[in-house]
Amino acid sequence: MISSIGFIIGACIFLFTLIAMKKTGKFYLAPIVTFLIAVFTVVYGLFKVGGFEGMGFGIIGVGILIAAMVGTLLLPFTKGLKKSEFNKVDKSILFIVPVLIFAIIGWAITLDEGYWINEEGVIVAGNDTSSYYEVSTISEGMKQIHIQLGEKYKGKHLEIKDVKTLGNTEITVMVVDKEKATGLPFIKIGLEKIVEPLVVQTTDGEKINSKSTN
C-alpha cells in the first residue's frame, strides 16, 4: 500500500519532469530527478526520522525508485518527444500533476484517524462513580486513554466522535442510548502521542476531568 503510493508519486514526478524538460530537450533528467528524490526520501527516513516511522519513508522511497527504474526503461520509447515549446496538453499536465500529488498527500493524511480502540464495554455501576479519564503509557511510548462515564450515564453506550490531533489533543465522545444495556460505559483508546492541554469532552460540551483531579 505505502510502496504503491510511493510509486504513484514517483510516476507523477517523472512525468512532470519529462514534460517540463521539453523546453530544454534534456529528457534524461526525468529519471535522474526521480531517482535523486527516491534517494533523498530514504536518507530523510533513515537520518531525520529514524526508527519504525522512518521505515515508512524508506518504503515510499523504494516505490519512487521503482518508478524511476520503470521510467528509465520507458525513456527509449519516447522518441516522439522533441524539444519544443509547451502546448496546451503539456501545460495541463504541469498543472494537474502537482494538484494530484497534493491530493494524494491529503488523502493519506485523512486515512489516518489518529487513534485506535483498545477496549470498550461497561463496568458494574457503583454508588459514587463519576466520569473521568486516565492516561497511561503503552508500547513504544504510545499513550492509552481510559474514559469512564459516571452514574448519570448508566445504561448508555460510549462512542468516539472525534479525536483532534492537530494542535493540542481533544477527544470528543458521543453518548448514545442502547437497549438492554446495563452498567457504566467505558472506552480505552490508543494515541501515538498526547499534546497538552488534553481535553476530553462529550458532544454536549461536558468536560470530563482527569482521574487524578477528581
Binding site: 530544454t24 533528467l29 530527478v33 531525520k48 502537482p98 493524511i109 492537530l166 493540542n168 497538552e196
Partner: protein, 161 residues
Amino acid sequence: MEDSQKIHILSRELISVFDELEQETKDVVLEHTQDCSECRQLFNELADGSYPMLERNEEVEIKPLKKLVQFNHGLKWLFISIRALILFYIIFSSFHFYNWELSADAAIEYIKSVTFMFYFPVAIFLSVFTMTFFTKRWIILSILFDLGIIFFLDTFMSIFY
C-alpha cells in the same frame, strides 16, 4: 555570413543580459569583446550601469530578449514568494495550533512533518522549473536552500524554544 559576424550579432544582444548567461557563454562574449571595439564599448557602458541607447531598428531586435529577461526575473520572484509563503504558513500555523510553552516538542515535530509533506513537494516542482528556465547557479542555490529548510528548519526553530 561569416562565423565572426554571427558571433558579433549574438554578442550585441547578449551583452545586455550578460549577468544571466552561463559561464561558457560569458567567456565567448568576453573573448569577442577583446577584438571588437563596438562590443567592448557596449559592454563597458553596461558595466558602468548606464544601459546603452539603442537605435530604433536595434530596439526591435532586442525586445524579445528583454521580454525573456523580464519573464525570468518575474519567475524568480514568483518562486521565492511561493517558498516564503509556505515557510510563513508552516511557522505561523505552528504558533497558531500549538502552545509552545506547554508542548514545544510537539510543535517542532509538527514543523518537521509539515515541511516534508508540503514544502518538499513544492520544492521538487519549483526545482524542476528552475532547471528548465534558469542557470546552473540558480539551480544549485535553490536546491541547497531547499535541502537546508527540509533538514534543518525544525532544528533552527528549536534553538529559539
